[in-house]
C-alpha cells in the first residue's frame, strides 16, 4: 500500500479503537499500579508516601516470595509437561483409524475445559476430602488405619502435585484440540513416502510429525505458561496458599498482601515482578520453539 499520509491515517483508524480500549483498560491501570509500587499505599486510606524502591528491597528479602516462586515454577513445569504430553498422545490417538466414536471422544475430552475453575476445584476438593468425601469413604471401607494421613491438600508437595493434576485434567482436551488441528495439516503423502522408505514408527514421529507440529507446540506451551505462572483461583480455592504459606503461589501472594493485609504498594511491586517474569519466560520459550519450526 502507498506510504502516503492518507494511507497512514487509514491504518491508524483501523488500530485506534483497539488501542484506546487497551490503553484505558490495561495500560493505564498497569502504569498506575507500577507507580503505586513505589509508595506505601495501603489500598484503603487516602494518603500515601513515596518510598522509592523500598517495597522491592523488602520483597527480595522476603522468604515467602522465593517460596511462592518455587511453588509457581513447580506447578507450571509439571502442568505444562504433562498437559502437552497427554494432549499430544490423545491427538495422535484421535488420528488413528482404529478408534471409533471420535466425535464423542473429542467432545468428552474437551468438556472439562468448559467448566469454571470454581466448579472443577470444588468437585475435586470434595472427591479428595478424607473426612466427608469420596476418598475418605473408600479409605474407611478399606479399613485404613489413619485416614487423615491421606489428606493430600495439607502437605506441600502432594498439594502442589494435586493442583497440577487438576489443571492437567481440565485442560488436556484443550491442548488436544490444537494438536489435532496441527496434525491434520500434515500431508499424508509424507508418511506414505516414509513408509516406502521403510522408516520405523518412532522415526516417523520424531523426524516428520514433531518438526511439523512445532507451531502447535509453540502456541500450546505459550498459552499454558501464561495461565500457569499467573495461577490464582485454583490454588486459593484448594488450599488458600496454606497451611502456613507452604503452597502459596505468586498470584495468591499478591492477593493476600494486597487485598487482605492492606499493603497495596507491596502487592503491586510483586505483580510488576510477576509481569516481568512472565514476559521473560514466554519470550525465551517462543524463541526456542520458533527456531525449531519447519516450514513445509
Amino acid at each position: 500500500m502507498k506510504r502516503s499520509i492518507q494511507a497512514r491515517f487509514v491504518a491508524y483508524s483501523f488500530v485506534l479503537p483497539a488501542l484506546v480500549l487497551f490503553g484505558t483498560m490495561i495500560a493505564y491501570p498497569l502504569i498506575i499500579g507500577v507507580l503505586y509500587s513505589f509508595t506505601d499505599w495501603t489500598g484503603i486510606i487516602d494518603s500515601f508516601n513515596f518510598v522509592g524502591i523500598k517495597n522491592y528491597l523488602r520483597l527480595f528479602k522476603d522468604n515467602t516470595f522465593y517460596l511462592a516462586i518455587g511453588n509457581t515454577f513447580y506447578i507450571t513445569a509439571v502442568t505444562v509437561v504433562f498437559q502437552n504430553l497427554l494432549g499430544l498422545l490423545l491427538a495422535i490417538a484421535m488420528m488413528s483409524k482404529r478408534i471409533k466414536a471420535k466425535g464423542f471422544l473429542k467432545t468428552t475430552f474437551f468438556l472439562p475445559s468448559l467448566l469454571s475453575a470454581v466448579v472443577v476445584c470444588y468437585m475435586w476438593m470434595y472427591i479428595l476430602n478424607v473426612h466427608v468425601g469420596l476418598l475418605g469413604w473408600f479409605l474407611r471401607l478399606a479399613n485404613v488405619d489413619r485416614v487423615t494421613k491421606y489428606d493430600m491438600l495439607i502437605k506441600r508437595w502432594p498439594a502442589l502435585t494435586i493442583i497440577a493434576f487438576i489443571l492437567v485434567w481440565q485442560f488436556s482436551g484443550y491442548d488436544m484440540t490444537i494438536y489435532i488441528s496441527g496434525l491434520e495439516s500434515i500431508p499424508t503423502d509424507l508418511y506414505e513416502a516414509a513408509d516406502l522408505d521403510g522408516v520405523s514408527k518412532y522415526q516417523k514421529f520424531f523426524h516428520i510429525t514433531l518438526p511439523l507440529i512445532m507451531p502447535s507446540i509453540t502456541v500450546n506451551i505459550f498459552i499454558n505458561l501464561i495461565g500457569c505462572l499467573k495461577i490464582f483461583e485454583q490454588v486459593y480455592i484448594l488450599t488458600k496458599g496454606g497451611p502456613g504459606v507452604s503452597t502459596t503461589t505468586i498470584g495468591v501472594f499478591i492477593y493476600n498482601s494486597a487485598l487482605s493485609a492492606n499493603q497495596y504498594g507491596y502487592a503491586t511491586a510483586i505483580s510488576t515482578i510477576l509481569f516481568i517474569l512472565v514476559l521473560i519466560v514466554t519470550f525465551l520459550q517462543v524463541k526456542v520453539t520458533r527456531s525449531r519450526e519447519v516450514e513445509l
Binding site: T107, L114, S116, V118, I178, S181, S185, S271
Partner: protein, 278 residues
C-alpha cells in the same frame, strides 16, 4: 509379521489411553450429577445414599437461591457485548498489521497490545475499579464488557492475524484498484472470509467470561450485576457447605456453555487450525 505386531501394540495402547482418559473425565462429572439429585443430610451420614433417593428439588432450590436466571442473563449480555467489541477491534487491528505492514509502528502497537496477555489481574483491579466508577459504568454490563474486551483482545488479535497471513495481498490490492476504500474492502471482502475465526473467538471469549469469578467479585458492588461463576459461590460459606444444591447449580451453569460449544464445534476446530497455527 514383526511390523504388524508392533503396529497392533501401538493401536492397543492408543485405545487403552482413550478409554482411561474418558473414564477419568466422565466419572467425576457423573459424580457431580448424581450428587446433585441427592439429599445433603443423608449424604453426610452415608455416601451411598445418593443412589437411594432422588431429589430433583435441589435444582429448584439452586435456581432460586443461587439467583441463576439473573446471573445467566447478566453473563449472556456481557458475553454478547464483549464478543462484538473483541471481534470488531481484533479483526480491524489484525487487518491493519497485514495490509499496512509497511508502517513499522503498526507492528510495534501489535506487540504492545500482546503484552496485555501477561498482566496479572490482581495488579490492575484496584485502579480499574476507580476508573470504571469514574466512567459511571459501575454495576453495568457495559463496564464489565469493556474490561473483558481489554483482557481478551490480545487473544482475538492473535487469531485474526494468524488467519489473515494466509490471505493473499492481491485480493486486497485488486479491490483497491477497483475503487474500494480500504474500509469497504475490509468489510465486504476480507472479513466475510473469517467466519471460522469469528466462531473460535466467540467460544474462547465467552468461555473466559463464563468461567471468571474474580473480575465480577472485585469490580461490582451490586450482587444483581454479577455473573454466573459468582452464583456458585453463594452456596459456600464458612457455616455450611451445601454440596448437593451447589452441584445442581454447577450442572445448570455448565449446560448453556456446552450448548454453545456443540453448536459451534466444527468452526472451532477449523478455526483453531487456521488461526493458532499459522
Amino acid at each position: 509379521m514383526k511390523e504388524m505386531k508392533r503396529e497392533n501394540t501401538g493401536d492397543v495402547a492408543e485405545t487403552v489411553l482413550c478409554v482411561i482418559m474418558a473414564i477419568i473425565i466422565i466419572l467425576p462429572l457423573c459424580y457431580v450429577v448424581i450428587v446433585s439429585v441427592s439429599d445433603q443430610k443423608a449424604l453426610n451420614k452415608n455416601l451411598l445414599s445418593c443412589f437411594v433417593s432422588f431429589h430433583p428439588e435441589n435444582y429448584v432450590k439452586a435456581w432460586t437461591k443461587g439467583r441463576i436466571p439473573r446471573f445467566i442473563i447478566n453473563t449472556a449480555i456481557i458475553c454478547v457485548m464483549t464478543d462484538a467489541l473483541v471481534i470488531a477491534m481484533g479483526s480491524m487491528f489484525a487487518f491493519a498489521t497485514r495490509a499496512y505492514k509497511c508502517f513499522k509502528e503498526i507492528n510495534m502497537f501489535y506487540y504492545i497490545v500482546m503484552t496485555g496477555m501477561f498482566v496479572p489481574i490482581q495488579t490492575i483491579v484496584l485502579p480499574l475499579f476507580k476508573l470504571i466508577k469514574s466512567m459511571g459504568l459501575l454495576n453495568k454490563p457495559l463496564g464489565l464488557a469493556f474490561v473483558y474486551a481489554g483482557t481478551n483482545l490480545p487473544l482475538s488479535m492473535m487469531m485474526f492475524a494468524g488467519f489473515y497471513k494466509s490471505i493473499p495481498m492481491d485480493l486486497i490490492d485488486a479491490s483497491s484498484i477497483d475503487g474500494c476504500t480500504p474500509y469497504r474492502s475490509f468489510l465486504s471482502i476480507v472479513f466475510p472470509l473469517t467466519k471460522t475465526i469469528v466462531c473460535t473467538v466467540v467460544i474462547l471469549t465467552s468461555l473466559n467470561i463464563w468461567r471468571d469469578m474474580f473480575i465480577p467479585l472485585m469490580l461490582t458492588t451490586d450482587i444483581k450485576a454479577r455473573t454466573i461463576a459468582y452464583g456458585l459461590m453463594s452456596f459456600v460459606n464458612e457455616f455450611s457447605l451445601d454440596w448437593t444444591t451447589m452441584c445442581a447449580a454447577m450442572v445448570m451453569v455448565t449446560i448453556p456453555i456446552i450448548i454453545l460449544y456443540l453448536s459451534l464445534q466444527e468452526y472451532f476446530e477449523s478455526g483453531a487450525l487456521a488461526g493458532a497455527i499459522k
